[in-house]
Amino acid sequence: MNKAIGCAACASLLAGFSTFVMGADFPNPLPPEAIPRVETLPAKYPTGWAFLNYAGDRIELRNVGSDSREVKGQLQAHDSATILISDQRPELYVADTVWSRGTRGTRTDFITIYDKQTFNVVDEIVLPGTKRALITAMEGLTTFTDEQRMELVFNFTPASSVTVVDLVNRKVLGDVEIPGCSLVYPSGKRGFSTLCQSGTLLSIRLDEKGAVAGRSESKAFNPLDTDPLFTASALIGGIRYFPSLHGRIQPIDMRTEDVKVLPDWPLVSAADASGNWRPSGWQILASDEQKLLYVLMQADAHEGTHKDPANEVWVYNVASKARLKRLRLVRPGSSISLTHTADPLLLVQAGERLDVYQASDGSLVRSLDLPGFHTRMQIDPAR
């Protein structure tokens, strides 16, 4: 018996011994597995799940409410894509833009309608005119109105307009010109408000066919030269709260067609003024079921730092306009949101991490990786 034959015999013996030992522990082999098999999601997502929009380039559904922290699914996104999550129909709506040859060729703007359980494409609505605003995914680029029957899409070419889309019949209804104004926020039963360069708020009422039924413009209240409002907002009891770059909070009542700009109030008290605290970040506001307002705040703020990550989250009772607590973050955060539960979790995008805190006491519960991500996240927790 030469060496080679000897080695082969040894290997066979070892393999047989190994099989014998393993078989003793696992007498039955693994069963054959079904092909093909694709995961589906529950009709109602757990409240510990959240959609994470990576600056309009990628959208994923993530389990942020469990230490398992797994990805539940992903949706295509290409350029400045935004997502609307319906609770009236089992559907998701992603507004996006592609070119037929990658970064060149024919441009198409479209809304993809996904089934919430399968993530299969149900339908799509092509948006005419290749004018959808290509701006880093942010609040105000798209919104529902008319109890989610319509979607409004902000266009910028750089002329401003809004495309009105019927999501039930899956067709475009028309465009509304809003020269000099930007972004869309739902107001009234069927309509929207938009922020204008003159410092005013233009409010448009729509009829059932998506045509303009009325419009009104507020007096100037947004001082763009000195202390402009961020375009991020939080909704509490039908009132939308916008922070300003220097630290005011501006409530606007958008519950009815008679939109009212309410008195503003300061986020920073005189006692804290020396710290130069200001709102800062990307998705800088959040609100919870207790009607509390959460704001990302940064110390030593100055010109040019308004999108920098912030070190603290300040929590306010908007009725009393009082700050209730300060939550110190373990890592500076750029975007925040709250899960829709009685005891909410505070979700904070901090660089390539999504830190999950207990909102009640600010304790860090867990941290999720966000590989390859830099900044500009939109967080949409499931309802």
Partner: protein, 191 residues
């Protein structure tokens, strides 16, 4: 400045109501071409970081692109780095890292004539310069040399001072690739 914004807004509102997109682009392009002669423009002063020293030979085994220089002591800094003074309001990828330069687009892309503007202080001559941040469009974006500086950036309600907008207008493809920074002129400070 408030007057300037008011005029701009009125022009945009008026134009949007009666002209095509291309003619708007042409008109705005003309406006921007003449921006250097405007007496007043939004001035957000840059706390421009001191240019990094490029003394000494670069390590050829570092794997990184060697530091670059403008070659002009009055224009100090490395155009492939975010702290180059004229990048004070840039939000995007630096064209100097993609085959372009601080003022030119990479091959195969197209420069948008419509743009946003900032004002940056040159640490060498202590002047505030109006800088046009033109986007280069139609190429391959992949995030190299990504910078986020926001001096003078304002919410998108004032789009001409906002750096989140993809400023690819009047070009064949509106797909963003990178951004250059072009001096339009010296700003006249109000203060």
């Amino acid at each position: 400045m408030a007057q300037f914004d008011l005029i701009t807004e009125k022009m945009l509102r008026s134009m949007a109501g009666r002209t095509s997109r291309r003619s708007i682009i042409g008109m705005l392009g003309s406006m921007l071409a003449g921006a250097s002669s405007l007496p007043l423009l939004p001035v957000g002063h840059a706390n421009a970081a001191e240019a990094k020293s490029t003394d000494g030979p670069p390590d050829p085994n570092s794997g990184e692109t060697a530091p670059q220089s403008t070659g002009n002591p009055q224009d100090p800094g490395d155009p492939t780095k975010c702290d180059y003074w004229r990048y004070c309001a840039i939000d995007g990828s630096l064209c100097a890292c993609y085959g372009g330069t601080k003022t030119s687009c990479p091959p195969g892309t197209e420069m948008s004539p419509i743009t946003w503007i900032g004002t940056c202080r040159n640490p060498a001559d202590s002047r505030n310069y109006i800088v046009s941040y033109n986007d280069c469009c139609g190429g391959l974006p992949w995030g190299r040399c990504a910078c986020q500086n926001n001096q003078g950036d304002r919410p998108v309600v004032r789009p001409q001072n906002n750096n989140e907008v993809t400023w690819c207008f009047g070009v064949q493809s509106q797909s963003y690739t990178c951004t250059v920074s072009i001096i339009l002129g010296v700003a006249i400070d109000q203060k």
